[in-house]
């Protein structure tokens, strides 16, 4: 019994240590080899990363496009997820194929292809191109995650609400949304994370309006401490996602 615990502990350490070192690097003003711990701690990395307006505007762009693309994707995905989740389609294969395709085509390819149209349609320079490109990548995840929440149980609860005389808006507010809350939360979180992590799509579509990952990459070679500081910002939503997942796992079924 003891041996597997040691193995699990070692595996856990292997998963946690790299991210812990990233945190240490962000606050290490001086960390010369071969020392295992920094010689001087400080905030130089954050100062260097946030010198000028670029990091602030990249953070706002990432947050803005992530939140907007997530809300739009959830709103568009909801009716489709209901039809697919309740297995109302006799031949759903074509729809699932359409949903799977964006997972197979490289994000940079989606960006390059969309840029071709955005240039023709004069859609560049408004910020809309970034939002539309992220929506193309996020929407399949929203549909695929949301559909797992719909099913006969929700349908049955809604029928009871209808029999009790609730209007369709009241049924949505008091029955459907509460019944789907964990699925909705998971879909929102994953959709946001997919948008938040996009590198290739954002780089292809809006190189002049860098998002956080586009801004971060050049720092890795040029200033590792600033890169680590930006990484911590970039990591925050992922940690929130993990905390939410742990909470969901511990919640009674």
């Amino acid at each position: 019994m003891r041996r597997p615990s040691v193995v699990v502990g070692a595996a856990g350490l292997l998963l946690v240590l790299p991210l812990a070192a990233l945190t240490a690097r962000a606050f290490a003003d001086v960390w010369r080899a071969p020392a295992l711990l920094p010689q001087r701690w400080g905030l130089r990395g954050f100062d260097a990363a946030f010198a000028g307006d670029l990091a602030g505007s990249a953070l706002l762009a990432s947050l803005g496009v992530g939140v907007t693309a997530t809300l739009l994707a959830l709103a568009i995905a909801w009716p489709a997820a209901r039809v697919l989740g309740e297995r109302r389609l006799r031949h759903p294969a074509a729809v699932f194929l359409l949903l799977a395709m964006p997972l197979l085509v490289p994000p940079y390819a989606v960006g390059v292809g969309l840029t071709e149209w955005f240039l023709r349609l004069g859609l560049t320079g408004h910020g809309a191109e970034l939002l539309l490109a992220h929506l193309a990548v996020v929407l399949p995840y929203s549909v695929l995650l949301l559909l797992s929440g719909f099913g006969p149980e929700v349908r049955w609860l809604e029928e009871m609400g209808r029999a009790a005389g609730l209007s369709s808006a009241d049924r949505l507010r008091w029955i459907t949304v509460p019944a789907l809350r964990p699925t909705l939360a998971a879909a929102a979180l994953v959709s946001f994370l997919v948008s938040w992590s996009q590198y290739g799509t954002s780089l292809a579509v809006a190189p002049a309006q860098p998002t956080l990952p586009v801004l971060l990459l050049p720092f890795v070679g040029a200033d590792p401490q600033a890169a680590a500081a930006l990484s911590l910002l970039f990591l925050a939503p992922a940690l929130l996602a993990l905390l939410a997942a742990v909470r969901a796992m511990k919640a009674p079924a």
């Binding site: 690097r25 489709a80 389609l89 964006p102 085509v105 994000p107 940079y108 960006g111």
Partner: protein
């Protein structure tokens, strides 16, 4: 009939948006690869791609990194799933840690740990192998295995569920050996999620370029990096070459996914 029309109307917003944006993106990419500098149809971009001296190396390197990363991630994922199958929420939460972390962050952390003079060098004296920017792409493979093995393990664990344990117990009572239970009870239950996850991993590894840009060698590049660099080398003609390379990666991923799904169906029918 009316119900069917209503269902199609409910599906329409998502399908129309996806067809317009994603379908438009694919059409735009293919169009870029088939339109010449004068605006007329041309195969120049494809010709430039196939005659580029770096193309064959990039294609070989992409297949090598994709296959190695996917197979190793699947094997490590299976081992992690076996290790954590009978454990509670906390070890699974630790296992889930790298899943929501962006690939770019894992690659950044890899540079910090495995680069020259990095933490691994300081801990061990010197690493026996060069892992960052090595020509074999070991650093890229390591980053993808670290990031994707937990993802595949969680998919496999979700496929296990409680009903699988009950079926395994029934099989044990019926006198099957552990190997027979693995072959006829456990494997059929986890094969599906493992295959779907592996297809997603392979498609991602073949098409993304932030990890190769950070930890991969300067030469050979992966095909996605090759496409990105083509747009830097030649701002005008490079767009067509990049579009051709990206079309090729997309076709590769779709072909691999179709073959894998067909193989799984055949195995199920056998």
């Amino acid at each position: 009939m009316r119900r069917r029309a209503r269902d199609l109307a409910l599906l329409a917003p998502a399908c129309v948006v996806l067809l317009a944006l994603f379908g438009g993106a694919v059409a735009g990419m293919v169009r870029s690869s088939l339109v010449g500098l004068t605006g007329g149809p041309s195969l120049n971009a494809w010709r430039a791609l196939f005659t580029d001296p770096g193309f064959a190396d990039a294609a070989r390197f992409t297949v090598q990194v994709t296959v190695l990363s996917t197979v190793l991630a699947a094997l490590v994922g299976l081992a992690l799933a076996a290790l954590l199958r009978s454990r509670g929420a906390l070890p699974r939460a630790v296992l889930a840690l790298p899943v929501p972390v962006p690939h770019l962050l894992v690659a950044t952390s890899a540079v910090l740990w495995l680069g020259p003079g990095g933490l691994a060098d300081r801990l061990l004296g010197a690493l026996p192998l060069e892992l960052i920017r090595d020509r074999g792409g070991l650093g890229i493979v390591l980053v993808y295995v670290y990031k994707e093995a937990p993802f595949l393990a969680l998919l496999v664990l979700a496929g296990c569920g409680r009903s699988l344990q009950a079926r395994e117990e029934v099989a044990a009572v019926l006198g099957t050996t552990p190997w027979q239970r693995l072959r006829w009870v456990t494997w059929p239950a986890i094969r599906g999620p493992l295959l779907v996850g592996s297809i997603i991993v392979a498609a991602y590894v073949a098409g993304a370029f932030e990890v190769p840009l950070l930890v991969g060698p300067n030469a050979p590049p992966t095909l996605a990096t090759f496409a990105f660099e083509a747009t830097k080398r030649d701002v005008i003609a490079g767009q067509g070459t990049a579009a051709a390379a990206l079309t090729l990666i997309s076709l590769f991923s779709i072909a691999v996914a179709s073959l894998a799904v067909r193989f799984a169906r055949d195995a199920e029918g056998a």
